[in-house]
Symmetry: C2
Subunit: 481 residues, 2 copies
């Protein structure tokens, strides 16, 4: 593939974003409005995120399962906030097998209701708890305005759902799940995040408490990248799904529940956070291809060496591709690995063979370095590790630059209507102020930031930037995707 | 979980099947008619099948991707046989986002049409070919009569779709995919299969040639377990999806295509093939848990040893679980590992600690053997390997017993209306005879068996068992799931 007419990211990130995704073959528009096609270059990122996050799910002793995509409409209506939140976005099956259905079926926008109906059947005693089940699946939420990865009518995600005999056990797991999202974002995707709790108006439809990881994009807009909810007994109580159990004293109690989800939208965060004017830049840990080996010519010794090195790296579990095609030039091949953001491209030419040193193009820094064929695997692993940590550092630097603390509404507006970014500011926690701020600046409360992994927040004396009334916490505001 | 009132498999396999699936917590009925819930014990089998088959897809250089679940109705209508085959089974979305849709959307019963519309966009030159893309996804086919795993309205599968510049290249890959299915069935699931081609009336809606793997269940009924199709140019031609390309001489040609799919129905084959009166019996290679370690008492040395051995086995990539609960007896625990079919259960008790030898319950043979703690990992691996190959041998033995060659229709009817099984018999390849045989015996042509991996069939002189006219091949008949 050739790099052609890519709008510079620095000039217009939103245009760049749409173009780079198509040119790097990460995704494409589909003939169904609002749905996208995940091409292998884009889907491969998701596969690596899945593998990474699966390890964290295993640690939390969460088991994978699969529940039906169809939900009877009546189920959604059992939790009042839940149906209110999702009603406008539902896709509905009315006909199937050549007949009109007696009860309309909703395509899952999320699976609380269909899963908890089963939990209710499976749980009798406190011995049946906890239940911790995850699904990797597709969900559908009908969106008016869509954007590759960030907002699509159908998207892929994991949704985990737990039920506990004990409230504190549930809350502990909610924070553990939040911490697992921070780990994925920061340690694997090299995206720094702020963790915190959502305001009443921004929390999940049906939750008592929603916690979130929020990332800052280079254009000054925030991206909510994963949420972990404590649902209390909203879904388990008798008039909802009746997940009741006999406790060890023989009394009936209702389960305490959580759900948490991370979706393919986070791929959009990777692209925006790390990409540059020349294309995508992939963090090594989730790059579908970590190393590309390119033949400088069709010389048979060179071709043989490319194949040998490829096998060597693949045997060491480094995701490696090679390009030995005679149909394209070296320049074309390098342009290709640059556009698709492969972290390291190794060039094998005559001189390289003679010297025993390969030329490595480092995508992130756009620098070249020599890599000795001796201890090649160790050398390559070191380079990949270093790229991974440098990418995080750079993104953290930028997030810090884009994070402001303000004390009055004039400064708030100036920043938020200018270069944007995160703003930490006192808010009285009254919804009217939150709404007014949103109307005037497009900024929403992203979260009340946590100062630890257990939900601690900083108490301070202050006044709401909007109404001037007493406020005890600085909330994080931003315009958001 | 307790074993309770499990109908013996030998007495009524169909009753046993439904009961054992629920008791071993492999799956459960869902509140949506025809859909099932894959519980962790059942979904875990699918995850292992996925991991195993992914390696074979990688070998074929097939890349994973994801296409929308929705298909515009007009797309399905572009290939006449295709829409005719699928029309009765479609689930249709008419309303979404609070509005009636301008064009009704079908929930994919299979993705040929939505994928090939994109292929048409992506392919211009012979250099863009071949395309080899796979999806692991959910599909929906509205079924009147459903059965756990074997036939459900929604099911999970992989569907791979290729496009080639060259017909022979496509056909070669079709046979390679068929061979990969044989490998999965026989080497991983321990299920012997017959490979062959489908008759005209049994082939895939839209294919030129459908090849299949067919397995024989213990009740004498066949289970079609995976199909690999050559689609010719039926979908690529101009009036369908127009997947055209410039060949190296600059002329326009249409791509040659394949598709192949393997679904969660094969989990049903595992359960039926290997299970016994006491529950499920899992082949080690795809067992969610390969080894269970059970504490004989709550003695703290024993508990410590259980944990130590568990870690040791897990570190060696043996899928291991332990049960050290104080709430259930040893008998209960062993009953549990028996019902769920865990290949090896290691019992750790006082005597075992003293002797340095554990007692191993082998699920498949229902025998006990001593396993030395010295070289435990090697010992356990050897046992697992031996179970895997013995399970295949036993299943192969039974398939042979249930395979008959007959020369006349009286014998055919006697067997097919009695103990059933596979029958090899001459058929003239006229659809009328095929239909009449089906009406009179419920047997369908399963396939014309191949004698090699490349589609070779045995030519013989014979007469059709039904009409007595000239026939050149013995087809494989059976009643089928």
């Amino acid at each position: 593939m050739a790099k052609r007419n890519l709008t510079p990211k620095s000039e217009n990130m939103s245009k760049w974003y749409t173009q780079v995704i198509q040119q790097a073959k990460l995704a494409d528009y589909s003939p169904v409005k609002g749905c996208m096609v995940f091409r292998p270059n884009g889907y491969g990122i998701w596969e690596n995120i899945q593998k990474s996050y699966q390890q964290l799910l295993d640690k939390m002793e969460v088991k994978n399962a699969y529940f039906p995509i169809f939900i009877p409409m009546s189920f959604l209506e059992k939790e009042a906030d839940h149906i209110e939140g999702f009603a406008p976005e539902l896709a509905i099956v009315t006909h199937a097998g050549g007949e009109e259905l007696a009860e309309k079926l909703v395509i899952r926008p999320t699976s609380e209701t269909i899963m908890y109906d089963m939990y209710s059947k499976w749980v009798q005693s406190h011995r049946d708890l906890p239940i911790k089940i995850n699904q990797w699946n597709n969900v559908v939420r009908w969106e008016k305005r869509t954007n590759f990865f960030l907002r699509t009518t159908e998207f892929l995600w994991q949704e985990a759902h737990s039920a506990h005999a004990n409230k504190q056990e549930a809350i502990d797991l909610m924070y553990e799940a939040l911490a697992s999202y921070r780990e994925i974002a920061e340690d694997y995707l090299a995206i720094p995040v702020v963790t915190g709790k959502k305001s009443e108006s921004e929390k999940f439809a049906g939750a008592n408490l929603t916690t979130t990881i929020e990332a800052m994009m280079p254009d000054g807009k925030a991206l909510q990248s994963g949420t972990s909810h404590h649902l209390g007994q909203n879904f388990s109580k008798k008039d909802a799904f009746n997940i009741s159990f006999q406790n060890s004293e023989g009394q009936t109690e209702y389960a305490w529940q959580n759900s948490w989800g991370l979706s393919t939208r986070i791929i959009g965060a990777i692209i925006m956070t790390h990409g540059d004017d020349d294309g995508v830049v992939m963090p090594p840990k989730v790059a579908p291809t970590q190393v590309a080996i390119v033949a400088a010519s069709q010389d048979k010794d060179i071709i043989a060496k490319v194949k040998e090195i490829k096998k060597q790296l693949q045997d060491a579990d480094i995701r490696t591709a090679s390009d030995i095609s005679s149909e394209t030039s070296l320049g074309w091949k390098l342009n290709d690995t640059e556009l698709t953001g492969i972290p390291v491209t190794l060039i094998v030419g005559k001189r390289e063979l003679e010297n025993g040193k390969l030329t490595a193009n480092i995508r992130f820094t756009k620098t070249k370095q020599k890599v000795s064929l001796e201890n090649l695997i160790d050398n390559v692993k070191k380079i990949l590790d270093s790229i991974q940590s440098e990418m995080f550092k750079k993104a953290l630097e930028r997030t810090k630059e884009l994070t402001h603390s303000v004390e009055n509404y004039d400064d708030f507006k100036k920043i938020m209507l200018g270069d944007r970014g995160f703003i930490k500011a006192f808010w009285c926690e009254n919804e009217d102020c939150e709404k007014a701020i949103k109307e005037e600046t497009k900024a929403t409360t992203r979260c009340l930031p946590f100062t630890d992994n257990k939900g601690l927040v900083k108490e301070e004396d202050g006044v709401c930037i909007k109404c001037g009334k007493k406020a005890t916490h600085r909330w994080l505001f931003a315009q958001a995707y």
